[in-house]
Subunit: 385 residues, 2 copies
C-alpha cells in the first residue's frame, strides 16, 4: 500500500516538508485554485507535480476534479462540461497523476453538525448529530416539504431542541453545515443553499443515477485512453439529506455503477468512513467484491451513536470499522492485481498542537499522522503474515 496524504496546495497551512515527516510518500491534491468547470492545463499540472517532487513526494492521486452541478442536473451545456472534465483528467494522467478521485454528490461534499466535538480524551472530532440536522432542515433552513421526511416524534424532539439553541449556536450550526459546500471558503448564505437545493426538485435517485451513467459513458473512455483510472467517492454520509438524491451509498450502488460501464477505469474510492455509516454495509466484502476497480482508499473509522442516525469520527482503530479486516482485504486485492493501492488516513482528530493551528475541518496534522501510523503498523504486520 502506498501511503498518501491529502494536501490542499501551496495555501495549505501544512507544508510539504511537514508531510514528509509523517512518513507519507505520496500526495493527494488538486488544483484547488481553479474555478469549477475550467480545463486543467498540462503546464499547471506539471508545475504542481514538480513542486511536490521537489519536496521528495509524488503526486499520485487527484482529489478531486469537481463535477459541475450542471453535469449532475443535466442542465444545458452539461455535455461540454463533461468533455472538459474528461480532458482535465486526460491531462492529469498524461502528466503522471493517473488516479482521478471525484464524487457525484448533489450540492454538498459532506455534511456534519459539529466540527469540534470534544471527546473524553480532549481530542476534537467531526460529528453528525441527527437531531441537530433535522433542526437545521426544519427550523433554520425551513425547507419546503421537509416535515414529510421525518416521523412525527422526531419533528417534535427537533422542535424542542431548536428552542434550546442560542443565537450563537444557530449561527455556528449554519456555518458548520454550509462548510460542506464545495469551495466553502466563499461565503454562502442560507438563500444560496436553498437555491442550490431547488435545482434538484425534479431529480430523484433514479434520474441522478442515470445521469451519472451518462457522464461515465462520456468520460471513462477518455480517461482510459490516457492511461488513467477514475475512482468515485461515496456519499458522506451515505443517506439522502435535505431531500437530495444519493446514488453512491451501498454495494448495490457499486454493482450498478460497475455494470453500466464495465471498464476497470470506471472505479471506486473506497472510503471506509462514509460507507461505514450504514451498518448493513459489509466493508471488507464490498472492497473485495469490487477489488478489480478499487483504485484508492480513504481509511477512517466512524462510530454510530445510540439513536442509530448520529455518528462521530472515532480514532482510526476504534470505530465501527474493522480496520485490520479492511487492510487485509486491500492487501489481497493488491496481490491479486499486482499493484500497490494508494491510501490516505482520511480525517483525524484535532489533538495536541493541532488545536492551535487552523486547518481544514477533518484535516489536522497530528491526528492524521496518528491514523497514518496506526494503519502503517497494521499493513506492515499483515504483509509479513
Amino acid at each position: 500500500m502506498k501511503e498518501s496524504w491529502r494536501w490542499f496546495g501551496p495555501n495549505d497551512p501544512i507544508s510539504l516538508a511537514e508531510v514528509r515527516q509523517t512518513g507519507a510518500t505520496d500526495i493527494v491534491t488538486a488544483l484547488h485554485e481553479l474555478p469549477n468547470g475550467v480545463l486543467w492545463e498540462r503546464e499547471a499540472i506539471a508545475a504542481r507535480r514538480d513542486l511536490i517532487a521537489k519536496a521528495g513526494l509524488t503526486w499520485s492521486v487527484v482529489e478531486s476534479i469537481p463535477v459541475h452541478e450542471k453535469i449532475k442536473t443535466a442542465e444545458p451545456g452539461w455535455e461540454e462540461l463533461a468533455e472538459t472534465w474528461g480532458r482535465s483528467a486526460q491531462n492529469l494522467a498524461r502528466e503522471g497523476v493517473k488516479t482521478i478521485c471525484y464524487n457525484f454528490m448533489p450540492v454538498l461534499d459532506w455534511t456534519r453538525t459539529d466540527l469540534t466535538y470534544p471527546l473524553e480524551d480532549g481530542a476534537l472530532a467531526l460529528r453528525f448529530d441527527y437531531l441537530l440536522y433535522v433542526v437545521f432542515d426544519l427550523f433554520i433552513l425551513q425547507r419546503k416539504g421537509a416535515e414529510a421526511d421525518y416521523p412525527a416524534d422526531v419533528v417534535e424532539k427537533a422542535e424542542a431542541r431548536f428552542k434550546t439553541l442560542s443565537e450563537d449556536a444557530i449561527a455556528k450550526l449554519i456555518s458548520t453545515v454550509l462548510a460542506g459546500l464545495p469551495g466553502a471558503e466563499e461565503s454562502y448564505t442560507l438563500e444560496d443553499f436553498r437555491g442550490q437545493l431547488a435545482r434538484y426538485d425534479a431529480i430523484d435517485a433514479a434520474a441522478l443515477a442515470e445521469q451519472l451513467s451518462r457522464f461515465l459513458e462520456i468520460v471513462v473512455p477518455m480517461v482510459e485512453e490516457a492511461g488513467g483510472v477514475m475512482a468515485i467517492h461515496p456519499d458522506d454520509p451515505p443517506r439522502p439529506l435535505f431531500g437530495l438524491p444519493r446514488v453512491v451509498s451501498s454495494v448495490e450502488d457499486m454493482d450498478r455503477i460497475a455494470a453500466r460501464v464495465p471498464s476497470p477505469a470506471n472505479g471506486f474510492t473506497f472510503c471506509t468512513g462514509s460507507y461505514g455509516i450504514r451498518p448493513e454495509n459489509d466493508l471488507p466484502a464490498m472492497l473485495k467484491k469490487h477489488g478489480d476497480r478499487v483504485h484508492f482508499l480513504h481509511l477512517r473509522a466512524t462510530k454510530r451513536e445510540e439513536d442509530g442516525m448520529s455518528f462521530h469520527e472515532a480514532p482510526h482503530l476504534d470505530g465501527d470499522v474493522d480496520m485490520v479486516a479492511i487492510v487485509r482485504a486491500a492487501l489481497e486485492v493488491e496481490k491479486a492485481r499486482g499493484v500497490q493501492l494508494p491510501f490516505r488516513p482520511d480525517h483525524g482528530h484535532a489533538i495536541l498542537d493541532d488545536q492551535s493551528r487552523k486547518t481544514n475541518p477533518g484535516y489536522p496534522l497530528i491526528g492524521r499522522l496518528r491514523g497514518l501510523a496506526e494503519v502503517r503498523g497494521i499493513a506492515r504486520a499483515l504483509a509479513e503474515v
Copy 2:
C-alpha cells in the same frame, strides 16, 4: 499489550492531558525529584499515583529507582543502600506500581554523540558516532590508558577528526556525552566525569556481574514478597565505553542473571533499541527465551551505520529491529503467561512541533506518538491473526 508512556513528572513539558491524546493508557515514571539513595515513602508514591489516575491514566511501571553508584562499586554502605532500594520497591509495589525498571550501568545511563542528528526527512534523531566518541575519549576527556582500547588506525582517524572540530563543536560534544549522566540537569564537568570513572578502575566485568548478583540476592526476595517484579534494562549501547565494564548486553548476560536468582521477579526490561545494536543479538529469540521474566518492553529501532560501530535511532519500523517479529514474540509470551505486558514507544524523532518544544533527549511528543501508533497497529493486526 498495555500502551505506556514515559512521563518525567509534574515538571515534564508534556502534560498528562497530552499523553491521554496519544492513546496511551499507562504511565511509566519515577519520583524524579528525590535524590538517589533515599527511601521512597508510600505517601509520596500514592500522591503521584493519584495525580496520574486523576488524568485518566495508570502508573504501572516505575522507571527507574536509580541504583546508587556505591552499590555498583561495592563501596562501604552499599548493603544499606540496597536495603533502602528494596524498601522503595516494596513501597511502590504495595501502592500498586508493581513493575520496577532499573539499570546497572556504571556512571552513564546512556551515551550519544549527537542529540539532534538531522535525517533526510528533516526529523532530528539521537546518534552515536563511534569516531566522535573516540575523539571525546582520547582528546577531550584524555582518559588515562584509553589509547590501548583502540586500533592504531582508529586513533589516527580520530586525531584527524579532532583537528577539524571547532570550539563550539567540542563544547557541544562534551555536553552531549555528559547528558547521559543520571540527573544530568545538574551541571557536570569533565573533571567530575573523570572522578566517576576512576571509581571503576579496579572493577572488571566479572566483578560488576558478581556485584549485580549480590544486589539481586538482597532485593529480589524483598520485591517478590511485596508482589512486585524487577526488570533490568540493558546497557545503552551494549558495549564497554570509557573502559567501564558492561554486564547486561547479550543473551549470555541474560542467561547468567536469570540463573543466579531464578525467581521470575528477577526480570528484564526488553529494550529492542539497546540490545539491537549488537548484530549477533537475535531479539525475538532472546525475548522468547526469557519470556517468563520479561516484564516490560522498550520498543525502539536503531540503525547500525556502515562502520559497524556507529548507529542512529531510526523510525520505529525502519531500523535493524524487526518490530513485527518482536511484537509477535511479545504476544506469544503474553498468551503463555496470561498477562498483558506494558510497553512504551522508546524514544522518537523530534518532528513537526516537537522541534520547537524543549523536551528530554529522545522524548519528544509527536515522534513518540508516531512510534506508539505504529506499534499499536502491529499489535492490533497480530492480535487478530
